[in-house]
């Protein structure tokens, strides 16, 4: 049967297209414009070709930020995913406590990012912060303002506190979809706790876990507000991640050309990694189903 083509539908998409154009496409094109030109006052533009890209690719400053960024994302994922699964497995399944736990778990996700940063900034202070003061009282030499290791530890603990809930809640949703009969059958079959996790719970959580890892990767790779408020990228450059460096370059030094080239590459890297990740995971699924 011939499918009837009706192009009127396109008109309905127009308003959205217009909106997206103003909010995303046009600003992005402006960035592209800056990336290929050298700008001076009075809106004078001179064609620079790939000069900024070349400079950025070979910039040791960018390499440093990228290295820290990758390390940060890796650590955060390595902690939050297993911890989130563990928390989800131990959350109450029904009744009053399950509702209460859900609300408490959702709280960190509802706090604005800069507030999270401020909370930890104060919490970690040695003079007035509960955490900083306690650690000091215990005889530990803790100071996130001076010590790069302490700064890193604080930023990571803050991110774990802020985002593990998301992984846990997603996993919890996956776990709730497992019918009771599966657990009963496992008891009949004498499956160990590990086997129940490995063969029943993990396969059912796989879908949501994929989403959780993808979200956490993208968000942690773009992290800006919380470390900016907490450490401002310091001490030195110790916690200067890609976004923080980018803002320093663009708004601090007003190097618009290099910053624009930097943004474009940053954007493409996230897009690429997410795409590869998603494709690998979905093709694994397909290969399994086709067996």
């Amino acid at each position: 049967m011939q499918k009837i083509q009706n192009n009127k539908a396109w008109f309905l998409v127009l308003p959205v297209l217009a909106l997206v154009a103003f909010s995303a496409v046009i600003p992005l094109m402006t960035v592209v414009n800056y990336a290929f030109n050298d700008t001076f006052g009075n809106n004078e533009f001179f064609w620079a070709g790939l000069e900024w890209f070349d400079e950025m690719i070979h910039s040791s400053r960018l390499h440093g930020a990228l290295g820290r960024q990758i390390l940060f994302s890796a650590i955060v994922l390595a902690i939050e995913v297993p911890l989130g699964i563990f928390v989800a497995l131990n959350m109450p399944k029904k009744g009053f406590w399950s509702s209460l736990v859900l609300v408490v778990m959702a709280l960190p996700l509802l706090i604005p990012f800069n507030v999270v940063g401020t909370i930890w900034q104060i919490f970690g202070r040695v003079d007035i912060g509960l955490l900083g003061h306690t650690l000091e009282a215990l005889g530990l030499d803790y100071n996130y303002v001076n010590d790069p290791i302490d700064a890193w530890a604080t930023v990571i603990v803050m991110d774990v506190w802020h985002w593990t809930s998301l992984v846990a809640l997603l996993c919890y949703a996956g776990l709730q979809s497992i019918p009771q009969a599966y657990y009963q059958a496992a008891r009949i079959d004498q499956a160990s706790r590990w086997a129940v996790f490995r063969y029943i719970e993990l396969p059912k959580m796989k879908g949501v876990l994929l989403i959780a890892v993808l979200l956490r990767f993208m968000d942690s790779f773009m992290i800006y507000t919380e470390p900016f408020v907490l450490t401002g990228g310091g001490p030195g450059n110790a916690t200067t991640f890609l976004s923080i460096d980018l803002v320093k370059m663009a708004v601090g030094q007003f190097d618009l050309g290099p910053a624009a080239a930097f943004s474009l590459m940053y954007f493409l890297v996230i897009l690429l990694v997410s795409w590869v990740f998603y494709t690998v995971m979905t093709s694994m699924d397909k290969a399994e189903a086709a067996q």
């Binding site: 019918p179 009969a181 599966y182 009963q184 059958a185 008891r187 009949i188 079959d189 004498q190 499956a191 160990s192 086997a195 063969y199 029943i200 396969p203 399994e288 189903a289 067996q291």
Partner: protein
Amino acid sequence: MAQITLENLAHSYSAHPKSDSDYALKEMTHVWQDGGAYALLGSSGCGKTTLLNIISGLLRPSQGRILFGDRDVTDAPTTERNIAQVFQFPVVYDTMSVRDNLAFPLRNRGMDAAYIKTRVDQIARMIGMEAMLSRKAQGLTADAKQKISLGRGMVREDVNAILFDEPLTVIDPHMKWELRTQLKQLHRQFGHTMIYVTHDQTEALTFADKVVVMYDGRVVQMGTPEELFETPAHTFVGYFIGSPGMNFIDAKIDGHRAMLIGGTQVDLGAHYGTLAGRTRIGIRPEHVVLSDQGLPVTIRRIEDVGRHRILRAELSGTPFNIVLPEDAPPPGPSPRVAFLPGKIGVYADDWRVAPQAVERAA
């Protein structure tokens, strides 16, 4: 293998049961003989699954004891009871192959690899899945998945009992018949105690030596299919067994006579004295014949079901079914019916009453 005894067992899902209706299982004492093939029959929500889960240890009863042989297992976990159970909806381990699924209970018990292989092959042959052994269980049809569940239930040879909780609900009719036959064969071969929960009477009657009928949290009757058909102990058994079920007519019982509404009398062929409560007489549609004399009925509809015809009728205002043999002449314009002698049951408040003394035929 052992005899399973339920002693004063009762279960309620609420923590503080107040009245009788809070109990999913009313107090019962019941013995399952070692090696018996039982069907547990009853409508949905009558407590069949609860009873099964208590036997397998997935549920702890609120009161009473469970004995395997002489051993009290009321507090023993499922693992210690060594029981296999197959659930209503297929449970397969998606990421495992069919072979690993079948081998899973054996591996968890640390069986020898060579033994596992032979046993799994044997079970695969039984459920007709030899060709699919190396496939992933994910993506199989519901039929195939349920066959794997069944196979996993049967793979252990040393179990105390195998419990089936409506296992063939999702399987198509032809396969159903075949699997049921195989279960029966398996029972003959290994002599495991089998308890088969179903709400399908055909399934129950073809599978089991003994059928246990449950109603509202109680075992109302246990007996052979023939006993259930001929002498239902409770009106529910009468309704539930047989197609259509037994006819029940309100009647006053006085000695050997039943007085129906409208004043007609039926001779019961036995003496019952005077009974209190709601009294009814029950007669199977198969035990009713058309005759010249007898009780007048009004025919509402005739259904031809092949081997026989069912007359949907009314007798003094209550629905009344009659089964006519295929070659019997159709009923006339003002039909009357008679009951076969000795086939009438008398029920007081839903329970069957035994006659006091059988009168000699004159």
